[in-house]
Amino acid sequence: MAQDTTGPLRRTPLYDLHRELGAKMVPFAGYEMPVNYPLGILKEHLHTREKAGLFDVSHMGQAFLFGWNGVQKDLDHRHPYIASVIEHLVPGDILNLKPGQMRYTQLLNDAGGIMDDLMITRPEDEPGQGSLFLVVNAATKAEDFEHIERHIHDNAVLSRKPDRALLALQGPRAVDVLETVLPGVAAMAFMHMRWFSIGTQQLIVTRSGYTGEDGFEISVPEAIATDFARTLLRHPDTAAIGLGARDSLRLEAGLCLYGHDIDQQTTPIEAALTWSISKRRREAGGFPGAAKVQADLAAGPARQRVGLRFDGRLPAREGADIVSPQGAVIGKVTSGGFAPSLNAPVAMGYVDRAHAKDGTEIGVIVRGQTLTARVSAMPFVPKRFHKPS
C-alpha cells in the first residue's frame, strides 16, 4: 500500500501521539503514517471488530464546495444548485440527499473510469444549505481538487480544509465511547452527519466508516485533534489502530481500495458499485463517461469485481493471476490477504463475466502453485452498520 513520493513526507497533527504510542511509521500517500502499534495488525483488527478502534485518517482530503456565493439567495434552491454542479462530475444522486445525509460516489473520467471514490455530505443545518462536504482519498486529493476546480468554473467555490484532522472510530463499542465525549451521536442514523462543538471548535461527525462496523468519522480542527484523540483513547474499550488493520478490515468488508481495486481503467459497473448509482442517474446520465456506464449496464461489463475464498491457508496477494479450471488466465487479484476475523485468506479481483457468478470454482496462481478458490459473495464478514430501531 505504500507509495513512492518525491519530497519530504508530510505529517498529520497526530504524528507525535503516534510516536508516543509506539507506532511503526511508514510512508503512505506522501505522509508518514502509523501502519501498526505495538498491539500488532492481527490484534488491532480483532479489537476493532470486538470493541472500538481509533484510526488517524487525516491524510485524506477534506473540502467544502460552496455554491451560494451570491448566486442563489433563495434557500430552497441552494441545494439543487450545488447538487447540479457536482452531479456533472459524479454518477451518485446528490440532488436527493436530505439535509445531514451523505453518499458514497466516484469522480469519473470521460471513459467512465474511476478517478477517485469519495464521500459527499449535505450539511444538516440551514446555513450549510448550498454547500457540500467532500472527503477524498489521500493519494489523489491534489488531482481531485484541481479536477473539480477546473470543471466548476465560477459556478461554485472549492474550499480545501488542510487544517482539519480526520479520525475514524469504528467497532461495536464506538457509539458508546463517542457518546461519552459528544453526547447525541447515539441518535444519529447511518450515513448521516451532524455538527458538534467543543468550545469554539466545530466538529463534523458522520456515522460512517471503512471497516464494515458501526462507527463514526470525525473531522476535527487540528488545534484540538490530539487532545480529542487522547480523550477517546482514555476509554478502556478504545485502542489506536494502524493502516495495516484498516486494510484487512476493509478487505473483509468487501470495500474497494482506490488505486488497487478501482482505478482510471475500471468503471463503477465493472467494480460492482452499480448500487451507488440511482435509477434517475442511470437513465438520465449527465456525468462523465455516462455512455460507457450505460452500455455496461445494458450489456453487462466484460469483467467484474468479485470476492474470492480459498481452500487452503496460503494468501494470494495483489497481482496474482486468476485462472479457469482449465488453466486459462481469466483475471487478476487486486487485493488479497489474510482475514483475521475468518482465520482464512480472502481476496478480491476482476474476472471475465463468464466466471463471475458466486460459487464458480477458479484457481489463483501463487509462486507457481495453483490455489483452489471460488467466487464468493462480499462482504466476507457480515456488515454491522447501525440501523435505526
Binding site: G244, L314, F338, R367
Partner: protein, 125 residues
C-alpha cells in the same frame, strides 16, 4: 545450544554435524508482525546459499526466507502449518523453519557471528 550464525536478511542457522537448522531472528519476527502462514519447501528440494527456502506470510505481506547456506531440505517444521504464530512466539526455538543437509561447509565462515549480528541490528535501529 550450539553456536549460531546470522544473515543480513535476518535468518539464523545452527549446525549439528552436517545438518543445519534455519529460522528467522526475533528482530525479523517483530518486523513482520503476526505470521499467518508459512510456505515451507518440499523435502529433497535443493537450495543455494541466498536462494529462496521458504515464504512467510504476515497479515500484510509475503516475505522470502533465504537459505544462509547451500544444501538439501531434509526436514521442515510441520508444526508451523497449524500454528504459524509460533514464529512470533519463539522464533529462535519452536519457530524454526527447516533443516538442510549442507553441501558447502565453507559458507559458514561468511556468516555473521552473534556479536556481529547484534551490532548490525543496533545500527538498523
Amino acid at each position: 545450544m550450539s553456536e549460531r550464525r546470522y544473515t543480513k536478511d535476518h535468518e539464523w542457522i545452527s549446525l549439528n554435524g552436517d545438518v543445519a537448522t534455519i529460522g528467522i531472528t526475533p528482530y525479523a519476527a517483530q518486523q513482520l508482525g503476526d505470521v499467518v502462514f508459512v510456505d515451507l519447501p518440499l523435502l529433497g528440494k535443493k537450495v543455494d546459499a541466498k536462494g529462496e527456502a521458504a515464504v512467510v506470510e504476515s497479515v500484510k505481506a509475503a516475505s522470502e526466507v533465504y537459505a544462509p547456506m547451500s544444501g538439501e531440505v531434509v526436514a521442515v517444521n510441520d508444526a508451523l502449518t497449524g500454528e504459524p504464530a509460533k514464529v512470533n512466539a519463539d522464533p529462535a526455538g519452536e519457530g524454526w523453519f527447516l533443516k538442510l543437509k549442507i553441501s558447502n561447509r565453507g559458507e559458514w565462515d561468511g556468516l555473521m557471528t552473534d556479536a556481529q549480528y547484534q551490532s548490525y541490528i543496533k545500527e538498523l535501529g
